[in-house]
Symmetry: C2
Subunit: 282 residues, 2 copies
């Protein structure tokens, strides 16, 4: 099951071609996106996702997203969804067709079923590896043209990192900066649990502020946890009560193995945090 | 005038939609490309472009390009071209549709007219700025998952850098590494002329080996120049007899202003090098 709606409010066949070959999203990875989890017809963190889409647009000199149009397109997908209880709802906006700026951005909302690998990762956790992202933590503020912290369609590196994980017998990645700081996963936010405190790195080191991480932190605080946004290093992961990759579709996924080393069993901490996260949407 | 041919040997309407919204080239910037200059029906450096496409494919774990199929698609564009004497011929290959690996890569050749801005830049030169690329020169070899040196569709940063140049009153960029080494332009190779020697940085510092730079070096050698591949720093640009950005479509474009400072007039050196480059294809 997949449902496709364009930003102009029209439904379309997701199995047909709709994009020109000279769309800059295709030719240059020049655009932005969000992926939103919908459960039982309700999008999670919809406002924060739209806020982040707007921040990505600003970082990339794209027009400010038309919030009402995105809400309408997302609503159309939800109304026409006839699949499972959960939807991975992608919002995609490109700079439009090359050489035709008046045509404006290409925008669509696409509802997809949750991948079976994701369902498995949620339940069983994942093995991850650390990979050098080659940047220093001050770079994002010094060099905004590198688009660190924008959720751009240019995800080639993110995908290559996940393939590298596969070659090393893992399925996910924790990027590290050149000074050893923990950054983020290619498609997730890193969260560490230690002594009933949750930690995640600050976004200004060149990472995306996590919508799921934010929801988890809210839920965990209500459940009596402390939460802190501060710099982490790889030894902090090895020493933690639990290491998690938070993303909309994977929710709060446990990392059970890091760089080939089994981490202490975090199943109980995970169950408690997963419940605190779910309680935010009950 | 634009002509579109797919890798299966079919011509198609370039103004129609041919790409699905779930093509990974669009959703993830996950694919590779080349842009080839065609003059008077003859593609320049066609073999080296196909070689580089194959290297990019290998770096990104894409199937090895079918050389005969690319030659056929390019040939179809050329046969059906009815526009100007020059063509910007793009070869684009994506990983294909998400979740359907059996469908295989999406591949097409697209012939476009040369942009008027490019014609102007060839004649008048460009103002460029230096921008920190945030990487160290050893990173490419240490971290192949960062895809440095692959011509990937994830060109978001390259496009953002050119927009940053525009904000600073320039139209092009010379990226620098964290140690001050000169890297490349967002869509070009840096070439420096000094005392009848041409210099360009080595590709192993994380840049694309330039097809136009290679043609220029061959031509310049025949015209009595020495050529050297070695590390450059920004002061080497300021101190040069000429600084050039080499790319297929812009050929050998002169940089007349760097970071707001007018460089010594390199018109004569440029004319000589442009002639040496053209002689390669006479």
């Amino acid at each position: 099951m997949r449902v496709l709606a364009f930003l102009d409010g029209t439904l379309a066949d997701p199995d047909a071609a709709h994009i020109r070959v000279d769309d800059l999203g295709l030719l240059r990875g020049d655009g932005i996106f969000e992926t939103i989890l919908v459960v039982g017809g309700k999008p999670r963190e919809f406002g924060p996702h739209l806020d982040r889409l707007a921040r990505s647009a600003a970082k990339m000199d794209l027009p400010e997203p038309d919030r009402a149009a995105w809400e309408r397109a997302a609503g159309l997908v939800l109304e026409n969804w006839d699949g499972g209880d959960e939807i991975a709802l992608k919002l995609v906006c490109t700079r439009g067709v090359e050489g035709d700026p008046e045509a404006g951005p290409t925008g669509f909302a696409l509802g997809l079923e949750i991948d079976q690998k994701v369902i498995k990762a949620r339940a069983e956790g994942v093995a991850a590896i650390t990979l050098d992202r080659g940047i220093d933590p001050a770079l994002a503020e010094r060099a905004p043209w590198l688009l660190l912290g924008a959720k751009s369609l240019s995800y080639g590196i993110n995908m290559a990192a996940i393939r590298e994980a596969g070659r090393r017998g893992a399925s996910d990645v924790v990027f590290t900066a050149s000074d050893g700081s923990v950054l983020e996963g290619p498609t997730s936010t890193v969260v560490v649990a230690k002594d009933r405190t949750l930690y995640t790195p600050p976004a200004n080191i060149g990472i995306l502020p996590g919508t799921t991480q934010a929801g988890l932190f809210r839920g965990a605080e209500k459940a009596g946890w402390s939460v802190k946004v501060e710099s982490l290093r790889v030894p902090d992961l090895l020493d933690a009560d639990g290491v998690f990759l938070a993303s909309s579709v994977r929710k709060v996924t446990r990392v059970h193995t890091l760089d080939g080393t089994a981490l202490p069993d975090s199943s109980k901490v995970h169950a408690e945090l997963a419940a605190a996260y779910e309680a935010e949407y009950a």
